[in-house]
């Protein structure tokens, strides 16, 4: 529909990724011949059961977990909801205080708001200007009745990677459970739940070229977390519902592909990312890179352009066949200023003019060139029409 749809450039891999062809191929037999229910007795179901088991084993191995510590869910948001709500309920007798950060995904923040309405107390700790959690604030926030710390592994908007090992150490020292929303990090970064003292971890299949509608929650053995969906013995009785067998198989396959190329992919993405960051910074005046320059996901670029509306920029990029985003994709198409950008101290009007581009290792440098060229043209056009820009230039000239 847009002018350049023939050469679409997809730069919104933090929102979702293209399902890898190998993943689709691995899933297909579980729609066609091996459609049996894994809970059934006959041998048709056993093929499905075996596939679920293998996927679980493989995924467990990628984060240093045991097989029975991986629970499949309907995605990252479900895993986040489950981790928070079920922990809150199970440990309510010990305390009703939870610590999280101001830059979490809404799956965490809105669940926290829900828990607040149920009488829990939530502390939202600050981040620094690059979006890194302030460890001293975290320590200071821990109280006698703190039952859970939930800090995201890497931020979906600005790509900042949190010092998870240090956070894990603090949680362990104070004997508080640690959950991490690793939706953007899993299968992109090496994670070891033991080394990092992570007690619970959420992940989502479609963020690493797996299918949508499937994710998992890692729950360390011994944590008395309750079942989230009632009605069956699936997932060791903690998450009822017939397993999404094709989804589970697909996510397992996607994880295999991701982990077999983890470093290669990271290197390729970093090259694209750094090229994009450098070129935008050089070619477009009055812009600012958001997030930490080094402790950053290899696929993430987030820039604010002064004097323009991010919304207009996104629409015009789409007209030119370039898919970007202005932050979280989960706000039903409407663009309120990002809570993450406000939390790192950006003024409202600058937060409005922000653009997130998230690359995939299959993107090319040529695509980056075309993207920068297009952004440059659009930003110039929007600024030419912006009274704010006009004022600024007039004042500067004086």
């Amino acid at each position: 529909m847009s002018e350049g749809m023939r050469d679409l450039i997809y730069l919104d891999n933090a929102a979702t990724t293209k399902t890898a062809p190998e993943v689709v191929e691995a899933m297909l037999p579980y729609f066609t011949e091996n459609y049996g229910n894994p809970s059934s007795i006959y041998s048709l179901g056993s093929a499905a059961k075996k596939a679920v088991m293998e996927s679980r084993e493989y995924i467990a191995s990628t984060i240093g977990a045991k097989n029975n510590e991986i629970y499949f869910t309907g995605g990252g948001s479900e895993a986040d909801n489950w981790a928070l709500i079920a922990t809150a309920e199970a440990y309510a007798s010990r305390g009703r205080h939870i610590i999280t950060s101001k830059i979490e995904h809404h799956a965490i923040l809105h669940t926290c708001e829900y828990l607040e309405s149920k009488g829990y107390e939530i502390t939202y700790i600050d981040v620094d200007e690059n979006g890194i959690v302030k460890l001293d604030d975290l320590k200071a926030a821990i109280r006698q009745d703190t039952i859970l710390i939930s800090i995201m592994f890497a931020n979906n908007e600005i790509g900042t990677i949190q010092p998870m090992k240090e956070i894990g150490k603090i949680a362990k020292e104070h004997d508080v459970l640690l959950h991490t929303d690793a939706v953007q990090a899993y299968a992109h970064l090496p994670i070891d739940v033991d080394e990092m003292n992570i007690d619970m971890l959420s992940a989502s299949g479609h963020k690493f070229q797996g299918p949508k509608g499937i994710g998992f929650l890692y729950i360390r053995t011994g944590i008395k977390i309750r079942s989230f969906l009632h009605g069956g013995q699936q997932e060791r009785g903690r998450r009822a519902g017939t397993e999404n067998v094709p989804g589970i198989v697909g996510m397992g396959k996607a994880a295999q592909l991701a982990f077999s190329h983890l470093e290669e992919r990271e290197e390729k993405e970093k090259e694209l990312r750094d090229y994009l960051i450098k070129k935008i910074g050089e070619e477009i005046p009055y812009c600012r890179l958001n997030g930490d320059r080094e402790k950053r996901l290899s696929n993430n670029v987030n820039y604010s352009f002064r004097f323009i509306e991010g919304e207009s920029l996104l629409i015009m990029l789409d007209r030119k066949g370039i898919c970007g985003s202005s932050g979280s994709a989960c706000t039903s198409g409407s663009l309120d200023p990002s809570h993450v950008l406000l939390a790192i101290g950006l003024p409202h009007e600058i937060a409005h003019g922000s653009l997130r581009l998230t690359v995939n290792w299959e993107n090319t440098l040529e695509e980056m060139d075309r993207t920068v060229e297009t952004i440059k043209e659009i930003v110039e056009r929007l600024r030419a029409m912006s009274p704010l820009y006009e004022d600024y230039i007039a004042r500067k000239g004086q």
């Binding site: 847009s2 509306e309 919304e311 007209r319 039903s332 409407s334 309120d336």
Partner: protein, 358 residues
């Protein structure tokens, strides 16, 4: 090259047909739904009507997909809050009865949407209003009544500027409502069946006074006195924001005969009560003038004046009595001239201009 037009779409029949007609006429059409106001608690109510929330987005997107036009949601919540909701509250606190739709049209639906549409490369914006835009012999643009007279939508558009009108298309204004329905049906448009939108979209429960109290907080005026025009106290009122000029119901005054609100005095927090004849006026003054069909006003001019939405109009003579002030002397007295409402002047079914009643 095809001219580009951004159509403001609500998913309802009028704006959907507007998009369809423009596409048929050869324009490059882009659909946009303006998100202006949204309160999660109100989502449920909104789904049963209401123009501009999430359900409107779903409905409009379906139509855009059917028409195979690109579609976007644009966020105007900040402008709407500042230019419409805040204005609404301020006017009430000053004892006036505002028309928020007029402010929304001028500042949000036109100023902001047009600016952002031109930014993304459009030549025009279009809406599903039953009104026409005509270029008058002198070259000025004016909003004129549409082919259908049942639903007059010109009143709330009097405040648009010449620049805005020059960049606006209203394709639906050439048709009658039944014809538009017929067109939608024949084109197979999946339009949403919506009840007519409620009076004020951001107050779905219609409790204006409650809304103003919440918004104004400490500034909300408390109870005060009902008084006669000579200052005699008749009883206590709930706060001036609960009343409007001409109101009879809900006063809870037992006078033995019908009485009406004739004036609201924010300075003394009094509501003035009078008899039936006291709510009639033979003249009014207005300011915040917008000149539309006429460039300026010299001498006196006979016009049809509408003093509120749905008013059929009354003839009178208008005359400038200050830099930004017009007096309108009616040929017959009119009922309930209400400060804060707009008065709109028509000649030959076209809007000459209008202002805010003082």
């Amino acid at each position: 090259m095809k001219k580009k037009v951004v159509v403001g779409m609500s998913g309802g029949v009028d704006s959907s047909v507007a998009a369809y007609l423009l596409k048929e006429q050869g324009y490059e059409v882009i659909g946009v739904t303006m998100q202006i106001w949204q309160d999660e608690q109100e989502l449920e109510k909104e789904e049963n009507g209401g123009c501009c929330g999430l359900s409107a987005v779903e409905d409009a997107r379906r139509v855009a997909q059917y028409l195979q036009i690109p579609y976007y949601v644009m966020n105007f919540k900040e402008e709407f809050r500042e230019k419409v909701m805040n204005y609404f509250v301020e006017e009430y606190l000053h004892g006036r009865t505002p028309n928020p739709c007029i402010a929304c049209n001028r500042y949000v639906k036109w100023e902001s949407l047009l600016q952002r549409s031109i930014a993304i490369g459009a030549d025009y914006i279009a809406t599903g209003h039953y009104a026409r835009i005509r270029q008058l012999p002198g070259g000025r643009y004016a909003i004129c009544k549409s082919a259908t007279d049942q639903k007059d939508q010109t009143y709330a558009l009097y405040n648009l500027t010449q620049y805005q009108l020059a960049h606006t298309l209203m394709p639906v204004g050439e048709y009658r409502k039944e014809e538009i329905r017929g067109l939608a049906e024949r084109a197979g448009l999946p339009v949403a069946q919506k009840p007519d939108s409620q009076e004020i979209c951001f107050i779905p429960d219609n409790d204006y006074a409650g809304f103003i109290d919440r918004e104004a907080g400490e500034r909300a005026p408390g109870p005060g006195d009902f008084v006669t025009s000579s200052g005699e106290i008749l009883g206590r009122h709930k706060g001036i924001t609960h009343y409007t000029v001409g109101q009879r119901k809900g006063l809870q005054l037992s006078m033995g005969h019908p009485v009406f609100v004739t004036r609201i005095c924010p300075d003394t927090n009094e509501v003035v009560i009078g008899e039936g004849e006291d709510v009639f006026s033979d003249e009014l003054f207005c300011d915040r003038i917008n000149y539309m069909g006429m460039e300026d006003l010299q001498g006196t001019k006979r016009v049809l004046a509408k003093i509120r939405y749905g008013h059929k109009g009354a003839y009178g003579a208008i005359e400038k009595v200050g830099e930004d002030r017009i007096r309108c002397r009616f040929e017959e007295p009119v009922r309930a001239v209400t400060p804060g409402q707009a008065v709109v002047f028509y000649e030959n079914e076209c809007v000459l201009g209008g202002g805010t009643i003082l």
